[in-house]
């Protein structure tokens, strides 16, 4: 498997590189690229590849559905920053990856998807299990390729990893026809990757940095608006030093929770549609918005015309196309957040900004996240708070999509990056369980908890089998209200409570878990919540707890569609609560 190197100092000739099949080249190149873990599912046209994987030194996880496997590779990548690798067969296998790939694309997750394809001479002929995989995945991948000549296979894989993990990361797909994986050719030496259409920018323009620093030093009411790019760029340390030196209040998007320690006084927690009132008010009143690794998503901005009306905007981002896409940017700085923040910090001065921080403290005291603590029913927010009490600073939290996701973002305070894994851009229900599995595979010694909704969990719950098969001690907490909670909330608020098709008949999740070979616990009394959590944490096996929570509970505050960020609903409910 190792390449023969020229011992006598002569340049390596082609014969130094042995003749290998495409399948061998794939596996060897994956190992060369540092892959030690893969997820994937078999199929006819990937048999040659799987034959070489049989005794390869790669930890391989088989899901129950390719979508589950793709979300696992995604969770793996988010937990580590490494490229998640998923392999699937042609036709239905590749098509089952679509949601997972689109999800990785929207959240900029580094991923390489290898799909089998029918023989090159059958392509375009409606062959058995044929699908136009590259055509279908073109809009949802950072790049994709079909390899029709085995000589192109090794360069394609090397390019794929390079593209997936550099710049703004994303999923890259390589379609490999079965005859290509059987054909033979020689390996090639690893050389520097050169792609004329792909230029990376790391350091920010020094003049722009100076302009930004000057604006920050002059500002009276700045807000630091942090996005997922800070976590992707491993820039949390630089962010903390920058924010502390300049003395800035810090708000985070859903994707960046944990990029900044939420227990710090200057943390404004999450902003946006279900963000905190204090973050939203601060943004709307600010005179300077410093965006780092964020993309002014519509869940964050509310009505664009009235977003941050008094603020000049600095935008630090690695992707030039994100800058001035939705919102006019006054001071763009293109480049890697890690480098730019470090340079920027050198030019920054501390300012007390007492009036601004007093105002913020006032908002914080008036509008903390709240729920009715006196209720005898199990409130979902209460469950999350108890999980946080028992596991804070110590757990990787993963979620599905919906109300439970928003409450977790509100009530589970994150302190470290890569400890909150959630589907933001695409908002994929069913992401939670497989992503938790991926995170556990990535971090075998970590405590990984999937806080999920009953409807989200239903979508991919077959992957519990995967957790059991590979003895992954993940913990699943279902906030079970018997509804698709978020859409039910919208039906209540905007469709006159016509709960059209928003509830499912659920199984007894605990019994399902036990049948799969995991531990299952049911909780229907508020007094049992704490003990159930303790029992769950003590379990060495995968464990699911089904919390029967308040059926109709709403996420507040809420910025309704079309309203400005400061026009939040639900704040009066806070005032009426003790």
């Amino acid at each position: 498997m190792s390449k023969k190197s020229a011992q006598d100092g002569r340049p390596q000739s082609p014969e130094d590189f042995p003749l290998k099949t495409g399948a061998e080249i794939v596996v060897d190149t994956l190992i060369e690229q540092g892959v030690d873990t893969m997820f994937g599912y078999l199929g006819g046209v990937v048999l040659p590849l799987f034959d070489k994987l049989y005794d390869a030194p790669i930890n391989f996880i088989i899901p129950r559905h390719e979508q589950g496997g793709c979300h696992m590779a995604d969770g793996y990548a988010r937990a580590t920053g490494k490229v998640g690798v998923i392999i699937a067969t042609s036709g239905p296998g590749a098509c089952n990856l679509i949601t997972g790939i689109a999800n990785a694309m929207m959240d900029s997750v580094p991923m390489v998807a290898l799909t089998g394809q029918v023989r090159t001479d059958l392509i375009g002929n409606d062959a058995f299990q044929e699908a136009d995989t590259t055509g279908i995945t073109r809009p949802i991948t950072k790049h994709n390729m079909i390899v029709k000549d085995v000589k192109d296979l090794q360069p394609a894989i090397r390019q794929a990893f390079y593209i997936a993990k550099t710049g703004r990361p994303g999923p890259v797909l390589i379609d490999i026809p079965v005859d290509v994986s059987l054909a033979k050719c020689r390996e090639t030496p690893l050389t520097e990757i050169s792609l004329p259409g792909y230029k990376l920018q790391q350091a920010g323009h020094s003049r722009q940095i100076k302009i930004a620093a000057s604006a920050i030093n002059k500002s009276e009411k700045p807000v630091l608006y942090v996005g997922g790019g800070v976590i992707t760029g491993n820039a949390s340390d630089e962010l903390r030093k920058f924010a502390k030196k300049a003395n800035l209040p810090v708000t985070m998007t859903l994707m960046s929770l944990g990029a900044y320690d939420q227990t710090q006084a200057e943390s404004l927690d999450m902003l946006g549609m279900h963000g905190s009132a204090y973050a939203n008010y601060a943004v709307q009143e600010s005179d300077l918005l410093i965006a780092v690794g964020a993309r002014f998503d519509d869940r964050v901005t509310g009505k664009l015309k009235t977003f941050a009306p008094n603020a000049k905007i600095i935008h630090i981002d690695i992707d030039p196309s994100s800058i001035s896409k939705n919102v006019h940017v006054d001071i763009p700085v293109v480049g890697d957040a890690k480098f730019i923040l470090a340079e920027l910090t050198k030019e920054i001065e501390y300012r007390e900004r007492k009036e601004w921080f007093d105002k913020i403290a006032d908002w914080k005291s008036k509008y903390p996240f709240k729920y009715d603590t006196t209720s005898a029913n199990i409130k979902p927010q209460y469950v999350i708070e108890q999980i946080w009490e028992a596991t804070k600073n110590n757990a990787i939290i993963v979620t599905g999509v919906g109300q439970h996701q928003m409450w977790t973002a509100q009530f589970y305070k994150q302190t470290k990056p890569r400890h909150f894994i959630t589907s933001g851009g695409l908002g994929t229900m069913g992401f939670g369980l497989p992503a938790a599995i991926g995170a556990q595979v990535a971090c075998p010694d970590a405590l990984v908890i999937d806080i999920d909704g009953d409807s989200s969990f239903n979508m991919t719950m077959n992957e519990l089998c995967t957790a059991v098969q590979y003895e992954l001690p993940i913990k699943v907490c279902i906030l079970n209200n018997g509804y698709m909670g978020m859409v039910r909330q919208w039906q209540e608020l905007f469709y006159g409570k016509r709960y059209s098709k928003s509830s499912l008949r659920n199984p007894e999740f605990a019994a399902v878990a036990e049948a799969f070979g995991a531990v299952g616990i049911t909780v229907d009394k508020k007094n049992d919540v704490k003990t159930a959590i303790a029992k769950m944490l003590a379990e060495k096996r995968p464990c699911l707890v089904d919390f029967k929570v308040e059926r109709e509970e709403n996420v507040w505050p809420m910025v309704p569609t079309g309203k400005s960020l400061h026009e939040m609903d639900g704040l009066s409910i806070f005032e009426s609560m003790s």
Binding site: G135, H143, P196, G197, Y198, P320
Partner: protein, 166 residues
Amino acid sequence: MKHIICALVNNKPGVLAHVAGMFAARAFNIDSLAVGRTDDPALSRMTIVVLGDDKVVEQVRKQLNKIIDVVKIQDFSGTEVVARDLMLLCIHTPPEKRPELLALIEMFKAKVVDIGQKTIMVEAVGPEEKIEALIEACKPYGIKSMVRTGTIAMAKFSKTVPTDNQ
């Protein structure tokens, strides 16, 4: 407003589909798209006429740049260019109208490339305005069919064009 953007792309299957798909997904309005080989067999050149304001064109440029098979972009907005569109036009021509129509075509420096019983086929090359004017002039006679390549363009030597290498 119409903007001409020129993109040098890898000459590979799928690249045209990628660019066209991106335009569709982002709801950019393409007026025309012409693509052909260059002197480098590995590269093709695409000339795209985009409808939109400056903000739209900026996004078009940036999104094109993101496509890895797009190697270089030139935005001809505000640049002096030589722009040409090629058209083949079939005009209904009863014999008694033929002389005046031929005179009209002569005026536009267009060429007759085929003659039928009651139709003539005309070839015309020129900037978009000339092509549009010829079409308008021929409408009264009755246009049977037409096909256009769309605009291709090159910057005039006296001006330099801002280029985007990603």
